[in-house]
């Protein structure tokens, strides 16, 4: 059914632009999208897609609720929010890791409750529940590295890219939780309804990302 437009939620910012470039190379270009405009919705009817820019943490919400058929979301968001969506592809961009960090030599195997500061409370709870450690979660929205420095928390659970921010604040990675990268996700009902077009899109994207790896 060629009249079916695929609605795509992209993350605002550098990562979203990197992801759009992949879509463009896969044949789903929409030149207007990179122009200097405040518009949030961009139609590319000849490519059969419509893009919209959303806040990075919201893209999974748009997809889970079906306002977007597919979208791009970091695995950190997927681990933390556990949206009920399909995870079709690993786009291999925005590669980093989710890790426990703290002062070098800090012994996490304490008998007392560990105080953990993080932006990702659910992912942190799941990790520590998995290793059987009692924790007290401190939800912060930014500058997580500050928490151990001020004695607010024993350790932090955060995204680590190069480790530079940690090092500058005298912290190190104590444990890795998970590798993170941007994922192509799909609304379950939307996927089923437009599956031929979405499978075709996913296949074309996969060829682009595989080509870049090799």
């Amino acid at each position: 059914m060629s009249e079916q437009i695929i609605n795509i939620a992209l993350q605002k910012g550098r990562l979203g632009e990197e992801v759009y470039a992949i879509f463009e190379r896969a044949g789903y270009g929409c030149p207007e999208i990179l122009s200097d405009t405040r518009k949030l919705i961009f139609d590319a009817p000849e490519a059969g897609v419509r893009y919209f820019w959303v806040k990075p943490t919201d893209s999974a919400v748009y997809v889970e609720r079906g306002a977007a058929d597919i979208g791009v979301s970091g695995l950190d968001i997927l681990l933390d929010g556990k949206p009920d969506v399909y995870e079709l592809l690993d786009l291999n961009v925005g590669v980093c890791r989710l890790a426990v960090a703290g002062f070098a030599g800090f012994d996490m195997n304490t008998a007392r409750e560990l105080r953990v500061a993080t932006k990702f409370p659910q992912a942190a709870k799941d990790y520590f529940a998995g290793i059987g450690q009692e924790i007290d979660i401190i939800k912060l929205n930014g500058s997580i590295e500050l928490a151990p420095l001020l004695g607010l928390a024993d350790v932090i659970v955060d995204i680590v890219e190069s480790g530079k921010t940690l090092a500058e604040n005298g912290l190190v990675v104590l444990r890795d939780i998970s590798d993170i990268s941007a994922r192509l996700i799909a609304n379950k009902a939307g996927f089923k309804l437009k599956y031929r077009r979405i499978e075709e899109l996913a296949e074309k994207i996969r060829r682009v990302t595989d080509g870049e790896k090799g």
Partner: protein, 305 residues
């Protein structure tokens, strides 16, 4: 003024479904207002993580607002003498944390169940009834049923687990069609049965050759044949095969299905074969059960007038 003039479209839909089930030979089951909490607590896995609202009865016993209707039916039918399969339908409120907002809500459910000693034909009848339920609700929109088979899922997961992958991770990735995730598990390669199963989606006629090939490699030929047969019934052209369907693997034992309508962002109907739950209630082992529920509150197309 006619009755129709004062009914909402959701109420009309519920009554149309009741009429459909009654004319298919199902009789009405009415739940007790409250049940003992233990009924739900003892069968928690069947409810796959639903939270239950509890309160104390007059004598201090712990009662619950029902989160589900299948459990009270299975319990009530156990006490009856069955000479032939019993066919019941219901129209009840259930109380549960609804998936997306994670708040407690009262939800209206209509559904049908068959319990007894029966053969494949009964499953086919129930699947047809699910298909006709979608016809009542779709209002000119495209509708389809996605079917799966728990036997095939289990054998595929066992096959992969025997090569070192974690069973829970396999089940989770399969239900999310997460092929990159599957490929990161130990012993899983691109041509592994579980990866091929996750990638499979489409009408039975399109995907059956691939499914047959996958099932031959894991000793699930009989299950594949059963699924192929089921897809030949009424509405067969609207049936698709999808192994991301099939939550609550513990109690489901064969056919499982979800119903979708274009424009609705979640499954509006789901059901399957749940012989495993009967074992929990001490039914004789030749007994089977199959049924489905329609989630009227999830159908936004019914809110419009």
């Amino acid at each position: 003024m006619s009755f129709e003039a004062v009914l909402t479209s959701k109420e009309i839909a519920a009554l149309s479904l009741r009429e459909l089930y009654a004319s298919a030979g199902f009789s009405r089951f009415v739940c007790r207002r409250f049940d003992e909490y233990s009924l739900y607590a003892d069968n928690k896995e069947f409810l796959s993580g639903l939270d239950i609202i509890t309160f104390s009865g007059k004598d201090g016993e712990l009662l619950a607002l029902r989160p589900d209707v299948t459990l009270p039916i299975v319990k009530a039918v156990r006490a009856r003498e069955l000479s032939e399969p019993i066919k019941l339908y219901y129209h009840e409120s259930v109380y549960r944390k609804s998936g997306l907002s994670r708040e407690y809500r009262e939800l209206s459910q209509v559904g049908a169940e068959v319990i007894g000693v029966f053969d494949g034909k009964t499953q086919q009848e129930v699947l047809s009834l699910a298909f006709r339920s979608l016809n009542v609700l779709r209002n000119g929109r495209e509708a389809f049923l996605d079917v799966s088979h728990v036997g095939i899922i289990k054998k595929t997961i066992d096959h992969a687990a025997a090569r070192g992958a974690d069973g829970a991770a396999l089940a989770k990735h399969l239900s999310r069609k997460n092929i990159p995730g599957l490929l990161k598990l130990p012993g899983i390669e691109q041509n592994a049965p579980v990866v091929r199963l996750a990638a499979l989606y489409g009408q039975a006629s399109e995907v059956m050759p691939e499914l047959t090939a996958i099932c031959a490699g894991i000793g699930a030929q009989a299950e594949a044949a059963e699924l192929a047969e089921l897809c030949k019934g009424e509405g067969g052209e609207s049936i698709r095969i999808d192994f991301s369907v099939g939550n609550g693997l513990h109690y489901y034992s064969g056919l499982v299905f979800d119903g979708f309508i274009a424009g609705e962002t979640q499954a509006v109907l789901s059901g399957g074969r749940y012989d495993g739950l009967l074992r929990n209630f001490g039914y004789p082992k030749e007994y089977s059960a199959v049924g489905f529920a329609v989630y009227l509150d999830k159908i936004r197309g019914l809110d419009e007038n």
